[in-house]
């Protein structure tokens, strides 16, 4: 696979506080190809955000990437020094954060924030940087960019701020864009507009990793999806396949608890229970305590990702050994199906 631009293998990230070790990411592997959009979905605390931020060491100081490899265009990011990483951050790999209200520096004009990194990275000089910033702003639909450049973040509305942040990330024309819950803080109409921008960027050939807890957002433009649970991928699949037939019981649960417009006659089913304490992850399958299909073997035997179809693997022995077929959405929680049939 020559066109894989990011190849993460067996990533482990830990956070240490006193004697507690929180294994936030616990053997995560994924690939991103050129021009592809990959969604990483999971609940809060599933390690989806840390699993991506670890690549550029953008994690809190008490966190540590303890194991793994992350080859980006042939270079192992995890082996780079802080100084070398700085030459990649914001240049080849850019970030879009969740809340543009808080992710833009309140004491800097947009001009500073949109051009400074271009100059650091030697992508432009003072004049051409402004030109590039204006182009990037026009590109994301910010009107009157020349005026906006002189403004501070507080002078912009929430939607404009999120656009400005995407423009900031785009201005350096990175080959990989990481969007960490880019729409969570926005209202629905704005969400759609921001997703449209990302979709357009993908069509222009940019690779995108979208981190979200919302499959409804992920399905909008992502080609593939990685479902994370307790710091690991439990299922990796083409987006369409996952939506049609989620394999892992957790994927099923996630899909069943996603609300969609136009959904009727279907019940919204939350997944019972809570994610495990990441300082004491149970042996065996971490999802077993919440899984409707769990048996004794699940509680003792660690689960590995096994291929079950083209471009698709799942970490559940019941699925990979064919004991249960990829579960048509909703079937996993037996008793509820009858209820649904009555409607």
């Amino acid at each position: 696979m020559a066109d894989v631009i990011l190849d993460v293998q067996n990533l482990h990230t830990e956070f240490r506080r006193n004697k507690t070790v929180v294994r936030a990411v616990n053997g995560l592997s994924y690939q991103v190809r050129a021009g592809e959009a990959v969604a990483i979905v999971g609940e809060s605390g599933s390690g989806k955000s840390v699993g991506v931020r670890s690549l550029l060491r953008l994690i809190p100081a008490h966190g540590d990437v303890v194991q793994g490899k992350a080859h980006f265009k042939g270079i192992d990011l995890l082996a780079l020094s802080e100084k070398q990483l700085r030459t990649i951050r914001g240049k080849d790999i850019s970030f879009v954060f969740q809340d543009a209200m808080t992710a833009l520096n309140p004491t800097m004009t947009l001009k500073r924030q949109l051009t400074e990194h271009l100059i650091w990275h030697g992508l432009a000089n003072k004049e051409t940087a402004t030109q590039r910033a204006i182009e990037a702003m026009t590109d994301v639909g910010l009107d009157r960019p020349e005026v906006r450049l002189r403004q501070y973040p507080f002078q912009l509305s929430g939607g404009m701020r999120q656009r400005a942040m995407i423009a900031m990330a785009m201005a350096s024309r990175p080959s990989l864009l990481i969007a960490d819950e880019p729409t969570t803080a926005l209202d629905v109409t704005l969400q759609r507009q921001i997703l449209d921008i990302l979709k357009q960027k993908k069509q222009e050939g940019m690779s995108i990793i979208l981190i979200t807890h919302d499959l409804g957002v992920a399905r909008y433009f992502c080609d593939r999806v990685i479902v994370m649970y307790a710091g690991k991928a439990v299922e990796r699949a083409p987006m369409a396949d996952l939506l049609a037939e989620p394999a892992h019981p957790y994927s099923t649960g996630l899909l069943d608890s996603t609300l969609e417009i136009g959904m009727s006659g279907q019940e919204l089913r939350p997944i019972p229970g809570n994610p495990p304490n990441m300082a004491a992850i149970p042996a065996g399958c971490p999802f077993a305590p919440r899984c409707p299909l769990a048996e004794e073997r699940c509680r003792v035997e660690p689960q590995r990702l096994e291929p079950i179809g083209p471009g698709r693997d799942v970490a559940c022995w019941k699925v990979s050994e064919g004991l249960t077929t990829a579960t048509p959405a909703a079937a996993a929680q037996g008793t509820h199906t009858t209820e649904m049939a009555r409607r």
């Binding site: 951050r89 969740q98 992710a103 309140p106 400074e116 990194h117 403004q151 507080f154 912009l156 939607g159």
Partner: protein, 295 residues
């Protein structure tokens, strides 16, 4: 892609999300006492700067024919002191001394506080522990004793005095800066700056420092009168600026010896001194309320 066509003015969000400094200034302006104090201090600063033009006499011009002259006698508006120097002129020049001491001492203190507080907060770990241990030691060391030692060793020039005061008064502000760094460095925009490729110094100076100016400004407004009081205290101990350069401290110290016969030698400089301190306190209160509206 449709453009978002809206000027910031017609968005309700933009109205509520005004810049923190603009909002702080609005709140400060509403505090009459603070505003009047600010005008008063601004006037004093102007007088200090233009002292030679304003003062009717030189600060060391003696007139033995008019010793301890009273209010408005022989052309001396506020009278003369024990060797016939014009009290008004000496007070005007004292403002200069106070201004130099205050600016110098606070420059030294702020520099040390920002460098040490930022380093401690940003580096964390061992560096933080050692620097905080250092501030703890200085904190319990009596600051007057430190100033007196420094002034005794290095002389009584304005430079040594303000450096000594500065060195003994940065500790509280350094802790404040450290706390601000700890508060801000986990904020998303700092992380975003890192994600864009900013290096350590850029993060510290462009992302963290500008966002912690509010508390620093409050600390400054309490530090300035602190420095002036420290100089006055030194003068009372006979360690103030080298005579004949006047300072409020030396004037008060000299005046108190004549308090029973010519109280005006003490009253005028003490009065202005007290008013100035009061003005700074009110400005400080105003600033604190302006930056911390919850209270």
């Amino acid at each position: 892609m449709a453009a978002v066509a809206a000027t910031p003015a017609d968005l309700p969000e933009a109205a509520k999300a005004r810049g923190q400094y603009a909002r702080a200034w609005d709140r400060f302006k509403r505090n009459r006492l603070a505003l009047v104090s600010l005008v008063f201090v601004a006037l004093l600063v102007l007088v200090a700067i233009f002292a030679p033009l304003i003062a009717p006499y030189g600060y060391d011009e003696t007139n033995y024919a008019a010793i301890r002259a009273g209010f408005n006698t022989d052309g001396y508006l506020l009278g003369t002191d024990q060797i016939g120097r014009d009290i008004l002129s000496r007070m005007i020049f004292s403002l200069r001394t106070a201004l130099i001491i205050a600016i110098g001492a606070e420059a030294v203190a702020m520099f040390l506080a920002i460098v040490i507080g930022m380093t401690a907060g940003y580096m964390g770990g061992r560096v933080d522990q050692w620097l905080m241990a250092l501030t703890d030691i200085l904190f319990v060391f009596p600051s007057y004793l430190l100033i007196i030692i420094l002034v005794t060793v290095f002389g009584r020039s304005e430079l040594t005095i303000f450096v000594a005061i500065g060195i003994s008064s940065w500790v509280g502000t350094a802790r404040l800066v450290r706390a601000e760094v700890l508060r801000l460095r986990v904020r998303e925009f700092v992380e975003a700056g890192k994600a864009m490729g900013a290096n350590g110094p850029t993060i510290a100076l462009r992302y963290i420092l500008p966002n912690s100016l509010g508390p620093l400004l409050v600390a400054l407004s309490f530090g300035i009168p602190g420095a002036i009081i420290a100089e006055a205290g030194l003068a009372l101990l006979g360690l103030g600026v080298q005579p004949p350069t006047p300072s409020w401290g030396t004037m008060i110290q000299e005046g108190q010896q004549w308090v029973l016969v010519s109280p005006h030698l003490l009253i005028w400089p003490t009065g202005l001194f007290a008013l100035t301190m009061l003005a700074f306190t009110w400005i400080g209160d105003g600033l604190r309320d302006a930056f911390d509206p919850q209270e």
